[in-house]
């Protein structure tokens, strides 16, 4: 019975991917891409990775889908350029790659190092019960530090490209066309979203959840507010900019301040590891939410008539 569900899910994934690649209209592709993201979230549940299901649903299907829909909205014509004519050679290469990959899955040597055991053994010292949060924010916290830097760089480049645009082009009138139903729904939903984001962040230390999922939910709430014409970003332009880098600033400050005590880089003091991690995660959630929102908000909106 299990395998029937898995095979259907797998084939569903392939069908959605085929839908994304071979549908003529781009809008249809993006909608199929969002469906693909949701099915992928289900797949992560089947692979016993609830964290990834949360992240995939919130970031993969949710935010990426919103960004793509926003981009599609500004394309005038959705029709397709005919794809390149030579297709036989790429087709053979891709089929060969797939077969090689699947064949290589069998020729797998017996793993000599079992990392999950190591994680389980040193979990008590990590200060959190949930292994994935322990790996992300304690064992491999340097990766997470660089990853936040990657997010920050994306936000910085977005700002750089948009400072060129005249600020006037980006602000729309106040009570222009605020849709009553959407506005009512959003104003009631926003507190619930904030509550859920904080809950997911808090649960991260002992259950699937954590900074990234919480941040993505926060970003989704902010995007919803922006779509419902609540222009929050105009109230605190500079605060927003500080907020982008705030999470990374605190993470780096904590990472280096422990070095003064003679400990190596990014080593949390034994007794307070849990509190340190929670503090960093709280700040990261706030910052990731703002960065992901600014990536949506900064994207060049208005149609500047192109020159040629």
């Amino acid at each position: 019975m299990q395998f029937a569900f898995d095979s259907m899910l797998g084939l569903g994934l392939l069908a959605c991917a085929a839908g994304v690649f071979w549908s003529r209209d781009l809008f249809r592709s993006v909608v199929m891409f969002i469906a693909f993201g949701l099915l992928l979230a289900l797949t992560w549940v089947r692979l016993e990775a609830p964290d990834l299901a949360l992240a995939e649903a919130a970031i993969g299907a949710g935010l990426t889908g919103v960004l793509l829909l926003d981009a599609i909205g500004h394309l005038r014509q959705h029709n397709e350029h005919s794809p390149r004519n030579h297709w036989l050679l790429p087709l053979l290469c891709c089929i060969a790659l797939a077969l090689l990959l699947i064949l290589s899955f069998n020729a797998r040597p017996e793993a000599s190092i079992s990392l999950p055991q190591l994680v389980a053994e040193s979990l008590p010292e990590s200060g959190v019960e949930h292994p994935i949060t322990a790996v992300l924010l304690n064992f491999r916290s340097y990766d997470t530090l660089l990853e936040i830097a990657v997010l920050l760089v994306a936000a910085v480049v977005a700002m750089a490209l948009n400072d060129g645009l005249a600020a006037a082009a980006r602000t729309s009138t106040e009570q222009s066309n605020r849709d009553p139903v959407l506005a009512g729904f959003t104003s009631r939903l926003a507190p619930v979203i904030l509550l859920v984001a904080i809950y997911v962040l808090w649960a991260g230390s002992y259950m699937p959840g954590g900074a990234f999922q919480g941040g993505a939910i926060l970003a989704a709430g902010l995007v919803l507010l922006k779509l419902a014409d609540f222009h929050i970003e105009r109230y605190a332009e500079s605060l927003l900019r500080l907020g982008l880098a705030f999470g990374f600033l605190v993470f780096l400050a904590v990472a280096t301040s422990v070095m003064i005590g003679g400990r190596p880089f990014l080593t949390y003091p034994e007794a307070f590891a849990g509190q340190f991690i929670l503090f960093i995660e709280a700040v990261l959630t706030f910052s990731i939410g703002l960065i992901l929102f600014s990536l949506f908000n900064q994207s060049p909106g208005q149609e500047v008539p192109h020159d040629n």
Binding site: T43, L47, L67, E80, L101, P116, E147, F212
Partner: protein, 99 residues
């Protein structure tokens, strides 16, 4: 044919499909879609292969979480640059890719 192995094979097929589209289509948005799905395929292989006939492993799951966030940052950047490019040039593909 455990669940993990099945989804790792699905990941491999997804990568092949995405690569095929990446080569054939020159429309920049479609290439971003292909890149995202190829990333998902790689993540499926990373977790599926690591957990095939072994216990659930938190390390690849943490790596994939990092990968998803990096992928969304790269996609957002690509979209922002594409939209500025589209605004300035009105084209949805790079000049050299014209037929």
């Amino acid at each position: 044919m455990t669940t993990d192995f099945w989804f790792a094979c699905i990941g491999a097929v997804l990568i092949a499909m995405a690569l095929f589209t990446f080569i054939r289509h020159t429309h920049l948005l479609r290439r971003i879609l292909a890149f995202n799905i190829m990333g998902s395929g790689v993540f499926l292989i990373l977790v599926g292969l690591a957990q095939h006939q072994r216990q659930t492993d938190p390390v690849p799951q943490a790596l994939v979480l990092t990968g998803i966030v990096v992928a969304v940052a790269a996609t957002a950047l690509a979209l922002i640059i594409f939209r500025r490019f589209y605004q300035l040039s009105g084209r949805t593909e790079l000049d050299e890719d014209q037929q």
